[in-house]
């Protein structure tokens, strides 16, 4: 294997170990699939962990505002990889038009309804005890403080003031009934690591990440709240080279994070991914 990427073996092994712990400990387990690059890596790692198989369902929270290419890419992978797709959607909010910007809601309120609430509904409906989520510590300050196995109470709230200790890969796997767990196998990866791994393993990602007409998406979300960045990077190696030089943070193109100082923290504490 390419010696240049030797450090990726350690990242991969750690994630595989976590995925296997999750699969062993929770019978009602699902993966949250945002269709972004991190989710693609997560799916790939899952197939590594389970020797080509995807033994758990993938939940896509569809806000209906996703960029169309994302949905096309999603449906293609579902067919090619045999993914057990579960779609979560807040139809009530969509029907009554309580969305940003038409429904006079803030972006954060819209995220709360279309993503957080839709996720909670599908978790409750399907009875999932635990959900695997592809967040990383380098994305943003509150995620930097996360655990690999992170409990949420029965209202899905994250008690970040009193998180369980996590040492020597002994995760918190015993819970009071009603507790719900978020499992974060990519927590220790960086954005650059993700792209290096995509390059090494040749993992498919949606085309929106590659520059067209001088712009590319660095982080994918809903169309009204996600802006592309100026870029000429039209291949994976070009993206990796670009990341070495950039001084822009990854989520700077995600408008909901910028609404107020603690917008994202409040969203996450109340159950957002």
């Amino acid at each position: 294997m390419d010696g240049r990427f030797a450090h990726l073996d350690a990242l991969e092994s750690q994630s595989v170990y976590i995925l296997r712990e999750a699969y062993r400990k929770f019978r009602r387990l699902a993966m949250l699939w945002s269709v972004g690059k991190d989710s693609s890596v997560l799916l790939w790692l899952m197939r590594k962990a389970f020797f080509g198989h995807l033994p758990i369902p993938c939940v896509h929270v569809d806000t209906s505002f996703k960029i169309p290419e994302m949905i096309a890419f999603r449906d293609q992978l579902v067919r090619e990889w045999g993914i057990d797709l579960v779609i979560g959607q807040n139809r009530e909010a969509l029907k009554t038009g309580r969305t940003f910007p038409q429904g006079a809601l803030t972006r954060v309120e819209c995220c709360g309804l279309l993503k957080r609430d839709a996720l909670q509904a599908v978790i409750e409906e399907r009875g999932y005890q635990a959900v695997i989520v592809g967040i990383r510590r380098d994305e943003e300050g509150t995620r930097a403080k996360e655990r690999y196995f992170s409990p949420r109470d029965k209202n899905f709230e994250w008690n970040f003031r009193d998180q369980p200790p996590e040492l020597w890969d002994q995760f918190k796997t015993d819970f009071d009934p009603g507790t719900h767990i978020r499992i974060h196998p990519l927590l220790h990866w960086t954005e650059t690591n993700v792209w290096e791994y995509i390059e090494r393993e040749n993992i498919p990602v949606v085309d929106l990440y590659f520059a067209r007409n001088g712009f590319r998406y660095r982080s994918l979300g809903c169309a009204p709240c996600t802006k592309p960045v100026q870029s000429t990077a039209s291949s994976v190696p070009a993206i990796i080279a670009e990341l070495r030089e950039t001084k822009l943070s990854e989520r700077s193109t995600r408008a909901q994070d910028q609404e107020s100082e603690d917008a994202f923290e409040r969203l996450r504490a109340s159950g957002y991914m």
Binding site: D9, A10, S13, R24, F51, A144, K145, K247, L248
Partner: protein
């Protein structure tokens, strides 16, 4: 890449923000390299988060706009610029100006990539500090020059030594508040060095800095520290050696799960130490069933013949044996310890104190075993290093103690100083990880090569659980040891009577009785004594596995034999308790119920224990009965008080 030479906001910076370092060149970091993990610890308010913030800024690792964002936040709060806000991302942290939870952030020097782990210094958040430090390759211990060595400076150092983070740099911060005095620095160095020496921590060096003013972080020579001739912080970091790979150690492959997604039966697990090879003979402990590695399985990766330490893999076996999660595969020449009792150094983080006799779960590698704390041997004040002298029945939050753990089934482990990965564990109290510990003082045994590879273990249709439910109690082996005449048989038969009268199924295995039949071909030579005990332990195990309480009465003079008996019995999933029936030799000789001492003195018996053969008293038995001083009735009371709780059914276990 240059460090923020384009910084437009330099006028907004605190004084000396760009210090003497603004023209430092940064070369491209090595991207394809594993990040070096450094934890920053120390007393509350000694400037850990400030140092991290400043370090990121000085190395040009901040994203665009981050500095300005913090500036806006501080202005809104009507306070001076606060570097700590970079790491203290939670509102509660900013409002109280303390770090609550550990944070991790990436940066790079000219040489390599780093993950900086910012750990809270407040005593209340010690579990978060431990969470951060447990994964670190090295540590920066931060001490504020104006306050000197404080309680958490010492406690954190102790925890680092316990967590095995041996590479330590001591950073003396806030030198600006003591006018960059070399005397203050020297005094702190002398005091702290002496303390660290007791923990066997040899700090690599002491470095004076001012994090707030950015002095001595990046460039060593500054006008403030003319007397200091060591490297700047970043250079000292770059000089730290990367951790050694664990691939050289003995093989420990921890089984995580067994998969049957397709026609293959794959044993999934991680190589925790050593390396695993196709074609290698491995034994799965406990029980030590043997097989050969047929293949290392993978997906979308070329097949490999050797898996190094750290790799999460899957294997298939040539000989099909029963393997389950928790088992540890090793090679015959370097087996781990298998026991149901071990000593450990532990730090407690639980809300409830650690209490003698309470039920916990120990998690070690992928094993999860019920346990109790059999004794609290020493409680250590992690700050003063003083041992609490009074006898303690509990260990409080943030205390460190030496304890003896008794497990309900066998557990496989190593002494921490021999192999860290399999020598550390956590204790779970109800649902919470509440303690972390390291194993010490365990004894390694050579395996008896007494195995035929052509036999397998036959499993019946009646489970142990069904037997326990019908009997109304668990199986157990109570192993008496002591001199001839100490009262072993008397107590064994008395215990049998008491249990029988309580509707329990108990039986005594008496040394003499066994030698009439099963062991009739054995003499009293040391070799035959070993075999005598081995056979007795094997029989006791089989009987206890059917739900009987087996009470053995053998002199069993050798420690190693009793340890082996413990392992044999534990390997059947049966609890083993060693009871030392202790009476002075003079007392035993005066009793001499079978006139054996008389014969031995007369030279009619050779190799009689206590006369011309040694008796090795247990160092750490579950129970000692002093039959030289106390009546049989008193000893029996003590015995019943200990044994009966062990036989009780635990309701929780039968829920499922």
């Amino acid at each position: 890449m240059k460090v923020r030479e384009e910084t437009a906001s330099a006028t907004d910076l605190p004084e000396q923000a760009l210090s003497d370092d603004s023209d430092r060149e940064f070369v491209e970091p090595l991207f394809g390299e594993k990040a070096f993990r450094v934890v920053i610890v120390g007393h509350v308010d000694h400037g850990k988060s400030t140092l991290v913030g400043r370090l990121l800024y000085e190395t040009g690792s901040l994203p665009d706009g981050k500095y300005e964002e913090i500036q806006t936040i501080c202005r809104r709060r009507n306070m001076p610029f606060e570097w700590a806000f970079l790491m203290d991302a939670l509102q509660a942290e900013r409002d109280q100006n303390i770090t609550i939870d550990v944070s991790q952030i990436w940066f790079h020097s000219a040489l390599r990539n780093y993950v900086i782990i910012d750990a809270p210094g407040h005593k209340e958040f010690l579990k978060n500090m431990v969470t951060g430090a447990a994964t670190a390759d090295a540590a920066l211990l931060l001490i504020a020059a104006n306050e000197g060595v404080q309680e958490q400076s010492r406690r954190h150092a102790y925890l680092l030594s316990l967590l095995g983070v041996g590479r330590v740099l001591v950073v003396v911060n806030k030198m600006d508040l003591v006018s960059y005095s070399s005397d203050v620095f020297a005094q702190i160095e002398a005091e702290y060095r002496a303390f660290l020496k007791q923990l066997r921590i040899e700090p690599i060096r002491f470095i004076p800095i001012s994090a707030r003013d950015g002095v001595n972080l990046i460039a060593a020579k500054t006008k403030h520290l003319g007397w200091y001739d060591g490297p700047a912080l970043i250079d000292a970091l770059d000089q730290l050696e990367a951790p050694k790979s664990a691939s050289d150690g003995p093989l420990r492959f921890a089984v995580q799960d067994i998969y049957r997604f397709d026609e293959r039966r794959i044993i999934a697990g991680r190589v925790e130490s050593g390396s695993l090879r196709v074609g290698e003979q491995i034994l799965f402990a406990p029980a030590n069933k043997e097989s050969t590695v047929a293949s290392i399985e993978s997906w979308q990766t070329p097949p490999i013949a050797v898996a190094p330490s750290g790799q999460a893999i899957g294997i298939t076996l040539k000989e099909q044996i029963f393997v389950e999660r928790g088992q540890v595969a090793a090679t015959a020449d370097a087996m781990p310890i298998e026991t149901n009792r071990f000593r450990a150094r532990l730090f407690w983080m639980g809300d409830r104190p650690l209490t003698l006799g309470r039920r916990y779960k120990v998690k070690l590698l992928t094993q999860e075993v019920e346990c109790q704390v059999a004794s609290i041997d020493r409680v250590i004040d992690a700050s003063s290093l003083e041992t609490t002298s009074s006898i303690r029945r509990s260990v409080g939050r943030n205390e460190v103690a030496e304890i003896t753990v008794q497990t309900r089934g066998p557990i496989v482990l190593d002494n921490y100083d021999r192999l860290a990965v399999s020598g550390r564990f956590v204790l779970v109290d109800e649902n919470d990880v509440a303690g972390g510990g390291i194993v010490f003082g365990g004894q390694y045994l050579d395996r008896a090569p007494y195995r035929s590879s052509n036999i397998s273990w036959a499993e019946g249709q009646v489970s142990l659980r069904e037997r326990i439910e019908r009997n109304g109690h668990r199986g157990l082996v109570v192993w008496f040891t002591g001199l001839s005449g100490a009262g072993k048989s008397t107590l064994a038969y008395a215990l049998e009577r008491e249990l029988f009268d309580r509707q329990m199924h108990a039986c005594v295995m008496d040394g003499d009785n066994l030698r009439h039949g099963l062991n009739a071909n054995l003499s009293f030579s040391p070799e035959d004594r070993v075999e005598n005990i081995r056979r007795a332990a094997e029989v006791a195990k089989l009987m206890a596995m059917t739900g009987l309480v087996v009470v053995t009465s053998f002199i069993s003079p050798y420690r190693a034999d009793r340890l082996k008996a413990r392992q044999i019995v534990s390997s059947g999933g049966v609890e083993f308790v060693e009871v030392h029936v202790s009476a002075p030799i003079e007392v035993c000789e005066s009793r001499d119920p079978k006139a054996l001492y008389q014969k031995a003195r007369a030279g009619l018996i050779q190799g009689f224990t206590g006369i011309d053969a040694p008796y090795e008293a247990p160092e750490d038995p579950e129970l000692i009965l002093k039959t030289g001083q106390e009546s049989i009735a008193t000893s029996l009371d003590q015995l019943l008080g200990f044994v009966i709780p062990l036989l009780r059914l635990d309701e929780a276990e039968y829920e499922i």
